[in-house]
Symmetry: C2
Subunit: 449 residues, 2 copies
């Protein structure tokens, strides 16, 4: 099933796609060097926006859900990539404990957990799933909507090791983004924890990621000879916001104004007639929560109580005090009349698939990862590594290759971001979960992270 793209994608993006296709050997060689120099995330998903004149990552997830939404034909790609990742990170390990999010009632999310377990199993691992939830006190089998089964087991900590009944894992694979803090259970373990604890939202900041992406995008732009702006959204940070108390409003408004101004200047430079907008997001937020669109500084002044409440807390009740103000990238792709944005999945250095997040209720300048959306994941029909050089730049295999390139740039930025976190974060000092974990993730958006 090929997503039917109804947009007229003309102008600069075709130029960008053509440049990327023409420079493919240089790009891949550059990537090879980067893969050797950097420690890559075990797995990554990247939300892209394609505005017809710009193609950019807008969010990079280091604990991706949604593996169940990939085209099942690409399972072998996932398996190869996992073999490569395990060989790189922990070659002698074969028993993995997979720790998911605490969403026992969200069967779509749990189908993703089962998909990850299947990939690892096919790569030759013994994988069992341990839950952080106190109510899981015995192995709990769950029937999933696609007919798969998943067993959640209680985790025991003995000394500095995590155990399940009759199972001593060699390594811990997290599919839990630690939004609410790092449980003591996970600290000071003898077993390696992949991704590392400092990759969780307790310590990650979107602005740190996009600072790293600035450098990556600049290096990459030199190779193909473009203005890095075509793959990189302008952003700034506002560090002292308290939505509940209406504090920091002017800081926010002035940052919105600055980003809109810089974006408008680029639009003028390249003759783009669209109206700029910005997205205001919690700097440590995820799950499409705590996000608003602003088309002028006034849009963030005098927010009403409902709007402020919406921005004030994100997943697991975490309060928002730092926000990123990011240039909005219109999505001009649509699938069957609904607005769509591509999400690309990677394991180790390899692009293993992707899908379109589709929302029938939202506009081209809005966050699509939203509660109440009609979410229709559409798996990419073609992989992202086999462009068709004889076809037009916008033929699906070529567009997907371009998506795979930009997604890998974001993944590389995450690698550099993690490297810098590893040098600065004191794992001992990581905050504990501040409240008992709650299940606030909007059901419909699960597959989209």
């Amino acid at each position: 099933m090929v997503p039917h793209l109804t947009t007229s994608l003309t102008g600069p993006l075709l130029d960008l796609e053509k440049k990327i296709l023409d420079c493919m050997p240089d790009i891949e060689r550059w990537f090879r060097g980067q893969w050797i120099e950097n420690t890559l995330p075990f797995y990554t998903s990247v939300d892209l926006r394609n505005s017809g004149f710009k193609l950019a990552p807008v969010d990079t997830n280091l604990f991706p859900g949604g593996f169940n939404n990939l085209n099942p034909d690409f399972l072998p790609l996932c398996v190869h990539a996992t073999m490569s990742a395990v060989q790189r990170i922990c070659p002698s390990k074969q028993r993995f404990l997979l720790i998911p999010e605490n969403h026992t009632r969200n069967l779509f999310y749990l189908t993703n957990v089962a998909a990850i377990q299947k990939i690892l199993t096919n790569a030759g691992m013994d994988v069992r799933v341990g839950s952080l939830l106190p109510e899981i006190t015995a192995p709990t089998p769950l029937d999933l909507p696609n007919g798969d089964k998943l067993i959640l087991e209680p985790i025991k900590r003995v000394g500095n090791k995590l155990l399940l009944d009759d199972f001593e894992p060699c390594a811990i694979l997290l599919n839990n983004d630690l939004s609410a803090g790092v449980p003591d259970l996970l600290k000071h373990l003898e077993q390696p924890v992949v991704p590392p604890l400092y990759a969780g939202w307790t310590t990650r900041r979107k602005t740190l990621h996009f600072h790293a992406y600035d450098r990556v995008a600049e290096d990459f732009a030199k190779i193909i000879g473009i203005d890095p702006w075509f793959i990189n959204p302008v952003f700034s940070q506002c560090g002292k916001v308290n939505f509940s108390a209406s504090e920091g409003e002017e800081c926010l408004a002035s940052n919105v104004e600055a980003v809109l101004h810089e974006t408008q200047a680029k639009y003028d430079e390249y003759g783009i007639k669209e109206k700029p907008f910005v997205i205001v997001k919690a700097d440590a937020g995820t799950y499409g929560m705590g996000i608003l669109t602003a088309r002028s500084p006034d849009d963030v002044r005098g927010l009403n109580r409902k709007e402020r409440n919406k921005m004030a807390v994100v997943k697991e009740g975490l309060e928002v005090s730092e926000v990123i103000v990011q240039e909005g990238v219109h999505t001009f792709e649509s699938v069957n009349g609904a607005v769509a944005e591509p999400v690309v999945y990677m394991i180790d250095q390899f692009v293993v698939g992707g899908f379109y997040r589709v929302n029938t209720d939202r506009g081209v300048d809005e966050n699509l990862n939203a509660r109440g959306m009609s979410f229709v994941p559409l798996a990419f029909e073609t992989n992202c590594h086999t462009p068709d050089c004889l076809a037009q730049p916008d033929a699906p295999p070529n567009r997907f290759y371009t998506y795979g390139v930009v997604a890998r740039l974001a993944m590389l930025a995450a690698a550099k971001e993690l490297q810098s976190l590893s040098e600065t974060v004191d794992v001992d000092a990581l905050p504990l979960p501040r409240t008992p974990p709650t299940m606030t993730r909007p059901q419909a958006s699960v597959a989209a992270d």
Copy 2:
């Protein structure tokens, strides 16, 4: 298209398959360690025979043809694996010169060359094809049966570098097995040559390969707790044969007798009722030439002129003086009533596909890679890395996983064999081609190597 296997595969092979499936995590962990310790061949194909009670490699090719016979759905697997291989062997290289066999009239072989070029191109390489043939004096475009095009170009040597017009390759990828010797053109190059020159049949010996395989099979058999014989054919070597002069006949006969005797003892031990046979092959031969089946020592005594001529020379007119006498493994697989044997393809450490070599004219104890055969490559429908643990051991995904395991054992043996050749072979002293290259490769067998 799933090959329809009409054989009744019961008895020990099902046990073997079950053991391999049960030990998958241990096997994959052991492989991961091996991939780190050994330098792997860039690409490998392995001919397997599955007798229902035994599954063993019978030939390991380091310059595989037949990439055009793989299931096109697995192209992305080939691309990922190639990225991994290039990263391992020569990460900074991006321009490859591919040097194929000298079979300009064999369009099936050339379709394989185009397939390799396509894989490398999709992995981000610039690849051009240089011919060793003196008659290629200008770029020569060829139309292939599947609609692809291939351009053969003349190679120039300048100093210690190979060049094409306007193209300075960073590395040389050989798809030429150097059966006839190593041309001076390829010696002492500054550019890396992959696979190395000593991997050619000028220096390789099947017996050296199977000695390395003995050790690999023994280590592996310990992991899954089997007699290594179930995956390893008995063999011996005869070093002083001259078929043209009817010399060395008794050496050959006594080796045939010894291998038959040892095989019969194993058959008795495991209650196997089949009649043993041996395959006599040129120790440095390839392309299914210079091969005969013997069911008793008398079968190699008093060979008539035609039989002796058939054995005396192999590809490129090379004379045979060393032979391997190898336990024959019946093939009890058949596809649509014709005898079939699986061929598994690997790039770097990864199984990327395979197909069945099918011969309607041959028996279960004969070489199928033979002139005049009705050759029907049937691509494996499933890859070799995603077994279905809930299905029977002989369900196709599980059988293919088992094939992928045994094929990787042979590839690992080739890695060890190449390591030992690298320590003993003096590349300066490698013999030159002894005759102008001729095109003696049987057309029908091309896809089968």
